[in-house]
Amino acid sequence: MQPTNDQRLWMYRQMVTSRYLEECIETIYMEGKTPVFNMAKGPIPGEMHLSNGQEPCAVGVCAHLDAEDVVIATHRPHHIAVAKGVDLNAMVAEIFGKAGGLSGGRGGHMHIFDADVNFSCSGIIGESLGPAAGAALSRKLQGKPGVAVAFLGEGAANQGAFHEALNLAAVWQLPVVFVIEDNAWGISVAKQASTAVPRNDLRASGYNMPGMHVADNDVEGVFAAAGEAIARARDGQGPTLIEIETSRLAGHFMGDSEDYRPKGEKAGLQSHDPIPRYRRMLLEDGVLDEAADSRLVDEAHERVEAAIRFARESDFLPAEAALETVFV
């Protein structure tokens, strides 16, 4: 399955937007955290898991999805949220904990919920799968269109939830796709030290569902695999498991010293950054020229900067608003 030129530009634009968002967050996150790093300080306190490098997974999948489709992401959700069309202003304000945020600051960066585009995420490893299976069951029971996609990291494939949900989705033939972003590291533990199989898509056969593998963080490889899997789900042919070899260009979280990485690994990953690679491909294919690229990048940056302005200018909710919305 080949993307159209419009789809290729859409994917590139989402990747550029997401990356710039992460770069801005990275800078702002450090405000108030120097010279002494204190996670509670600055305009963006708390843990921060940046998605730099993993953008191909998000855009290659979400290129096939509409607002009505359900996506449940992970503790590292920004790239997927951008690609799913989550309201950028409200999302960034949520990351700042502000009143204009998606939940007014009750959730934070690991708990981004945008019901308008059926996006949510969970900070617990492996917990995207069960709810995605349930959303898919809901569509099946209601006879409503739409599929569900659960994103997870390769470390999550060692959680019980992964195995339970794959079996459940297969036995009920649910319209759901499980997408593993294999960035090779579970915080500091390498995949080969934690995982008995070289590739998690091989585990699909244990659940009688197709498993697909995408090598080399390849945007259009993701697009092709996801397109096939999502089409199968829409057609009532049940679930698929996809594992994508991707790269985490940042630490697990901001403040991670990344001492566990072999010498030279990070430089190698950075020199193989998927966004410049895709840009070169689009330029070579004549889908993009330098002027159009520069316009696209400028527009993406302006959109991110506007969201950050919105977040900075938004007030905090009164502290006692913490007591609200426990129940509806």
């Binding site: 708990h111 019901a115 959303a135 019980g160 339970e164 079996n167 509806v328």
Partner: protein, 340 residues
């Protein structure tokens, strides 16, 4: 015991199934899933007849995968459905507490109230029949302690039907904890007082309202589930000694009707809380605190009859020794009189 008129008596199991069937008939978004809820009708009888009427799409037997299917209920509830999902024994919470507490209970808050999670998690509680320490717990305090989910515990079929209907219609997650000894399953040694007149037409019992099931002026007994029946027996025994005990059936732990408890204790001046859940850090401590932080001018220090802080033992001699019962409640009252 309740305000029902008419004489048709139901067990709690039948009452739960009837409420579910009635809601399923009028709301296509309601469906049931869990282990053995299909043709078997639930190990404790509370889905009996549903599979026959609604079929296996809406009454779904699941794999033994609580994390997946309770997680799936969260996903379905967030997507416009109203799942009723069964955790067969509350003791099994260990394999799925993340789905329950980190998602079911928190997603509404994390979304600033924009994502509703209208689901019912029904689960059996309680021992007394030598099922050992992994199939006999109540864990009321464990669930009530965690914010974001309502918790109800019926003591009789009338309340069970009304609370189940209310729980299904509620836009929030509700944990429906039913005590095995009240279910009307003969092999579990059913408490007769739980099988009461229950109207056929649908009705709700408001979640968050306790019920004064016996009026009295000398002592307030507060309990829930099976404990209510121990209290009623104790009240009858005390009556023969000339004491008049009031019995409050909490019915809901979340929200907790502190007002009804306080009003009763304000009248009687004495409080004993009866709880089959563990003694420490639980319902009994919460009820006593709710009273004394509001009004400390009681006639006697409050007391509690609860399960000792031990895993539930298997041997009948040990288990029965540890369980609350009417004799222990009467003894606690006598002790209270001696102390003051």
């Amino acid at each position: 015991m309740n305000t029902a008129t008419g004489s048709r008596k139901l067990t709690i199991a039948r009452a739960m199934a009837e409420a579910t069937a009635q809601e399923m008939r009028q709301d296509p978004s309601v469906f049931v899933m869990g282990e053995d809820v299909g043709p078997l009708g639930g190990v404790f009888g509370n889905t009996r007849g549903l599979h026959e009427e609604f079929g296996s799409e809406r009454v779904r037997d699941t794999p033994i995968s609580e994390t997946a299917f309770i997680g799936a209920a969260v996903g379905a509830a967030s997507d416009g459905m109203r799942p009723i999902v069964e955790l067969m024994f509350v003791d099994f919470f260990g394999v799925c507490m993340d789905a329950i507490y980190n998602m079911m209970a928190k997603n509404t808050y994390f979304s600033g109230g924009k994502v509703k999670v209208p689901m019912v998690l029904m689960t059996s509680t309680g021992g007394g029949y030598s099922d050992g320490g992994q199939h006999s717990q109540c864990l009321y305090g464990t669930f009530a302690h965690l914010p974001g989910m309502k918790v109800v515990v019926p003591s009789n079929a009338y309340d069970a039907k009304g609370l189940m209907t209310a729980a299904i219609r509620d836009d929030n997650p509700v944990v429906f904890m039913y005590h095995k000894s009240l279910q009307g399953m003969g092999w579990l040694g059913t408490e007769k007082g739980a099988t009461v007149a229950t109207p056929e037409e649908p009705y709700t019992v408001e979640i968050g309202k306790a019920s004064v099931v016996r009026q009295g002026s000398d002592l307030t007994l507060v309990s829930l589930g099976a404990g209510v029946h121990h209290c009623l027996r104790a009240a009858r025994a005390l009556e023969t000694e000339g004491f008049d005990a009031e019995v409050v059936d909490l019915r809901s732990l979340v929200p907790l009707d502190r007002e009804t408890v306080r009003a009763s204790v304000a009248k009687t001046g004495r409080l004993i809380v009866v709880d089959e859940d563990y003694h420490s850090f639980g319902v009994s401590g919460e009820i006593i605190a709710s009273v004394v932080e509001h009004d400390h001018r009681l006639k006697a220090a409050p007391a509690r009859v609860a399960y000792p802080d031990i895993p539930i033992p298997f041997a009948p001699t040990m288990e029965q020794w540890a369980l609350p019962n009417a004799d222990k409640i009467v003894a606690a009252f006598h002790q209270m009189l001696r102390n003051h």
